[in-house]
Symmetry: C2
Subunit: 370 residues, 2 copies
């Protein structure tokens, strides 16, 4: 059921347009997936997301495994029915969250033993279990269990993590029972090219439906992110989806598209919104700043979102300072819309042979790096 078709290639960069097909619909790439951590993109309804043109969201298997439980989600009809979202869903394996959120986690040969950050209960996440959880959730694009070591880990440790990730990827592939779903391997190896190569060689031998580049955007320098992404993309097969996990700011996305990335996810648009940090075509807005107290303009005069069509910066500042939920909602809507339009422009510019112009425009804008 899962398919990826390459549709257009840019002449001047490695940017490309494609079409992912899943059991729940099509996804035009390059695509950005809003992050629905606990089975909701914070403050947004599925109708909001569809209205902006998003075709796939990503949900965190770790969170749903712990609460409400993957078995319950299956019993209730899977993630799509559960969330009221009838389009595609990707899931991460839970590995990243276990390592960043869980208490007293221990990485063993066969999986990760950890205690829930919610209630301290003990769990053991194996590659088999990670696939089972994601299959129960009814994810369209699943991730293999991986180990993402911290950026400061010694190279020897990162190599061990690569080996373990490859071993686990093999076990994930064997465990998969549902052919309608895709399973992606996750490339690790930090900023070391030899380790990245080793990771890719191991995964490509297993032949996954797509490849995720993990272990970036976790504290390394931007230049290293770009360099490592480019290195990986030079080796990954052209006919498979390439997913750069957890990245990033608008400028990062454009850079990565230029190197050949198809799929993105990031909490920046949603998290920034809740902190009052807004993306606009004229730079960053920190909505709490006094300069907006009597500013009757919309966040972005060029923006067509509901927030910009109906509310002034002064009003948005007021409800932000008053701690009103509506502030999170309206700013999230705007920031996600900004990303939706960015991805649409990226796809259109590639199709029209004008992607490099867009890339120049974006790299000239300081705000897109915020």
């Amino acid at each position: 059921m899962f398919a990826f078709e390459l549709k257009e290639k840019d002449n001047n960069t490695k940017a490309r347009c494609g079409l992912i097909t899943t059991a729940h619909g099509s996804v035009d790439t390059p695509a950005f997936m809003p992050v629905g951590t606990q089975a909701t993109v914070k403050t947004m309804t599925p109708a909001d997301l569809e209205g902006m043109g998003f075709q796939m969201m990503i949900v965190n298997a770790y969170h749903l495994y712990l609460r409400p439980g993957h078995k319950l989600v299956k019993e209730l009809g899977g993630l799509q029915k559960f969330m009221g979202w009838n389009k595609s869903v990707a899931t991460d394996s839970g590995g990243f969250q276990v390592l960043s959120l869980a208490k007293t986690r221990k990485i063993l040969e066969h999986g990760i033993s950890f205690q829930s950050h919610l209630d301290g209960s003990s769990h053991f996440l194996t590659p088999q279990k990670a696939v089972e959880i994601q299959e129960y959730l009814n994810s369209d694009i699943m991730m293999c269990l991986d180990e993402c070591p911290p950026v400061e880990a010694p190279k020897e440790y990162i190599e061990k993590a690569v080996d373990r990730t490859t071993k686990w990827a093999k076990e994930c592939k064997i465990s998969k029972t549902d052919n309608k779903k895709a399973l992606f391997g996750i490339v690790q190896g930090g900023i070391y090219e030899d380790l990245r190569q080793k990771s890719m060689d191991g995964l490509m031998e297993l032949d996954f439906e797509g490849y995720s580049i993990g272990g970036l955007g976790i504290g390394e320098e931007s230049e290293e992110t770009y360099k490592t992404t480019e290195f990986c993309l030079n080796s990954l097969p052209e006919n498979k989806v390439r997913y750069l996990m957890g990245i990033g700011k608008p400028a990062d996305i454009v850079e990565a598209v230029a190197k050949g990335v198809d799929l993105f996810d990031c909490v920046i648009p949603t998290r920034n919104a809740r902190n009052g940090n807004v993306f606009t075509n004229n730079g960053k807005i920190v909505i709490k700043n006094a300069q907006y107290s009597n500013d009757n303009l919309p966040l972005d005069e060029k923006c067509g979102c509901y927030t910009c069509k109906n509310f002034s910066r002064a009003y948005l500042r007021h409800i932000f300072l008053a701690g009103e939920f509506l502030s999170h909602r309206l700013l999230t809507l705007h920031n996600l819309y900004f990303y939706a339009i960015l991805m649409k422009r990226i796809r259109e510019s590639i199709a029209q042979g004008k992607f490099e112009e867009l890339k120049h425009e974006m790299s000239a804008k300081e705000n897109t790096k915020q």
Copy 2:
């Protein structure tokens, strides 16, 4: 510009249908006004409220006076433009909030001296100031400054509050400069009929565009609320709007409509939603309860709201327990929709001579008294 037209009268009760016209549109009565405390009905957009059929909201002058300031709201075009709500707006005078929220407030002959609950700054709210604030906010229906004593206050004190409220009402009326706006007098007097009569006599002599019944729903018994409401409605002029402030539960609203009330406001639908308490046609739902953990039904199978059309109780319980903003939003939408439909049914049943049937139906339902 402000007008009230009586359209239909029920044969069996004192229920009535009417039409309020303001500079910002029409309001079919009996009407319920969602409460937009700080210039937003918590979690809802104006589009949400319009979609449910609400035609007027009420906003708290006290809150907006303190933040962002009534002068700023005026500078930004008034409440309608500020909030992105192009329909009618009522405001309270601020008196009730000053007495319930402010620090070290002191009631003097010429007004109320108080310190802001936000920053401790000192303020003095006079009748003139209360009208100025509401005119600056561009309210369509303003309230006179009143004093609402606590339910346990001695009768002698309540009488003094009535006298002060009448005196302030006169000063409010004199201070009013904008003839497009309506000014309502607020009847006080606790649960004492002689004091209520004294209050009404004083206010009616001043001839306001409408009369609000204040000082109820603050801790007295339900029977006293009904009895006092009925007593007031027997004296208030038939051709003027009657507004029962801060009330109430669905059953209270139906009871009060039967006695001749036209206008309501209450935080119950919105506040209950944020606490996970849901109104349905089959009784109250406390969404966190374990019984809903695997319940794939909507909150209310008879409800046509977005929440009921798209989400199960199990999902709503999950996002409530996970502390997700979307829970507040979806439950608020449902509860307000429940109120919107209730008011619509009330108006239709009066017009069709079937209001008593509706009243019997509602009084048989325990859940409407929740």
